[in-house]
């Protein structure tokens, strides 16, 4: 008996069984084990933050040494650009006043005016093709919460869709990237009353940086370069967030037209993202996009 208990394979078997039990119990909603696991993140996150900071510092220092000449040249170009933009700003201020007057007159609201935008830095990226959740530095301590089954859109600086928040902890959130096979979003062709379709992550296309598009009506003419935005169906995402462009379309099966989409945003290239959190709006005010409201007017 003692020999059995000290056997390596017995210990391995017991450890594996305990771990499997912990995974199952931890996956249950509201499990205390899950909370205990999550609190481990409070220990590991600062370590990773320190390593990332140190890595960035080394990288910045290296860039400062190697890119000095290029930066100087770029700086001169930027100064010229700033001068040009300053002139443009003065011109745009006049246009803005005019726009505000029209906006008031037609009761137009900005597309995303009932959303708070929270900036966050990308803390960690995917460890491999299966350990692929991304962490961002925005959490409960920043004043955002999420209901069970709820989700918030994550966009880049150009408001392109990047993914969605699936979990929020104290100081960080977990993001499901757009290319992940668990990601689904309803999209539409970026025009008034554009045809709707379903955009999903796909294991086979992920490596090429593409998404799968399904639910396309056979009469809808899609071609390379067609711009797709969120449709707003389902209520998770607001309407009108740019997703990407159509890369290819397969009309071989009229009942199941499929296409591939190349997203505008790539989380692998980003250091900062933005989370769109809706705030309470009166029931009589709907979240219609600018284009359709103008059309209604």
């Amino acid at each position: 008996m003692r020999r059995l208990l000290t056997s390596k394979w017995f210990i391995v078997l017991m450890a594996v069984l305990i771990m499997l039990a912990a995974i199952v119990i931890g996956a249950l909603p509201g499990s205390p084990l899950n909370k205990a696991f999550k609190s481990l993140g409070n220990i590991t996150s600062p370590i990773q933050g320190f390593v990332k900071g140190a890595g960035n510092m080394v990288s910045d220092y290296w860039s400062a040494v190697t890119d000095g000449i290029a930066i100087r040249k770029e700086n001169e170009e930027m100064k010229a650009e700033i001068a040009r933009l300053q002139y443009q700003i003065t011109q745009n201020e006049e246009a803005k006043i005019r726009y505000e007057e029209l906006k008031d007159a037609f009761h137009i609201r900005d597309t995303f005016s009932n959303y708070d935008i929270f900036g966050a830095s990308v803390l960690s990226r995917e460890a491999d093709e299966w350990f692929s959740v991304i962490r961002i530095g925005l959490g409960l301590s920043d004043g955002i919460t999420i209901e069970e089954g709820g989700s918030y859109a994550v966009v880049d600086v150009r408001m392109n869709l990047i993914g969605r928040v699936i979990e929020i902890d104290d100081g960080e959130s977990k993001v499901l990237p757009l290319l992940h096979e668990g990601f689904n979003v309803s999209g539409k062709v970026n025009e008034v009353n554009g045809a709707t379709m379903m955009i999903s992550g796909d294991a086979g296309l992920k490596r090429s940086g593409l998404c799968r598009v399904t639910g396309i009506d056979e009469n809808v003419k899609l071609e390379y370069g067609t711009q797709i935005v969120t449709s707003g169906d389902g209520g998770l995402f607001p309407q009108g967030i740019p997703i990407g462009i159509i890369e290819s379309v397969d009309y071989s099966d009229p009942m199941g037209v499929t296409a591939t989409l190349r997203p505008y945003g790539d989380i692998g290239e980003l250091n900062d993202v933005f989370v769109m959190v809706p705030f309470e709006v009166p029931d009589d005010v709907s979240d219609e996009p600018l284009a359709s409201q103008v059309e209604e007017q």
Binding site: K8, V16, T44, V51, R125, A127, I166
Partner: protein, 208 residues
């Protein structure tokens, strides 16, 4: 301070340093160790190498701790069916890293006298097991719970997933072996507790 205590402190400090650095580097700068959509799995390779070079006890402890880091930094998602929302699953990383340590300490060790060249075979074996079993489990999971087909063809799995991962893991094995041998937890890159199994037989033809 006696020699044993100094050796223990060295072991703890070196392992702590590597445990902090390796998972953090993998999730912070994956683009620097990526090829064809795959990222070199430093955590897996490190765990396998520690188990291979320094034995099961070291490997299992390191594997479990690195698995915790893996789960905290970038947990996997599980989805019960196509309609349900995906949820993060904690513990899978720990299990995988623990099994990697078992794998690293069980194959090509005693018979090969923990010869450094066979460390590559051990890493290759663990990587192949991880990728092949991973694809099979996900394929089964999707078929059972989501009632969908697997999105990857056999060719895509081999050429796009298994082979690039194998190549990357073998490449990062070189610096990690050097680190463990020359800046590792043990003097001369050998764990004295398992050195007996080396000296028991004359197998000098296998050593580098």
């Amino acid at each position: 301070m006696n020699k044993e205590r100094i050796a223990l402190i060295r072991k703890i400090v070196v392992y702590t340093l590597y445990i902090c650095l390796i998972p953090s580097f993998q999730v912070s700068f994956p683009e620097s160790i990526s090829l064809y959509g795959q990222t070199a799995d430093l955590m897996l390779v490190f765990t396998v190498l520690v188990s291979y070079m320094f034995g099961f006890a070291d490997g299992a402890v390191i594997g479990i701790i690195i698995g915790i880091f893996r789960d905290c930094f970038s947990p996997p998602l599980i989805q019960l069916n196509s309609e349900s929302a995906p949820v993060t699953a904690f513990g899978i990383g720990i299990l995988i890293m623990f099994l990697a340590s078992v794998c690293g300490s069980s194959f090509f060790t005693v018979r090969m006298k923990r010869n450094t060249a066979f460390a590559f075979a051990s890493v290759a074996f663990a990587t192949l097991m991880y990728k092949i079993l991973g694809h099979l489990i996900i394929m089964g999971w999707i078929a059972l719970f989501a009632h969908q087909g697997y999105g990857l063809s056999f060719k895509q799995i081999v050429l796009g997933s298994v082979l690039p991962q194998l190549l990357l893991n073998l490449i990062v094995t070189v610096p990690l072996i050097l680190l463990l041998m020359f800046l590792g937890p043990y003097k001369k890159g050998k764990n004295p507790k398992i050195s007996d199994e080396r000296s028991s037989e004359d197998v000098s033809w296998l050593s580098i």
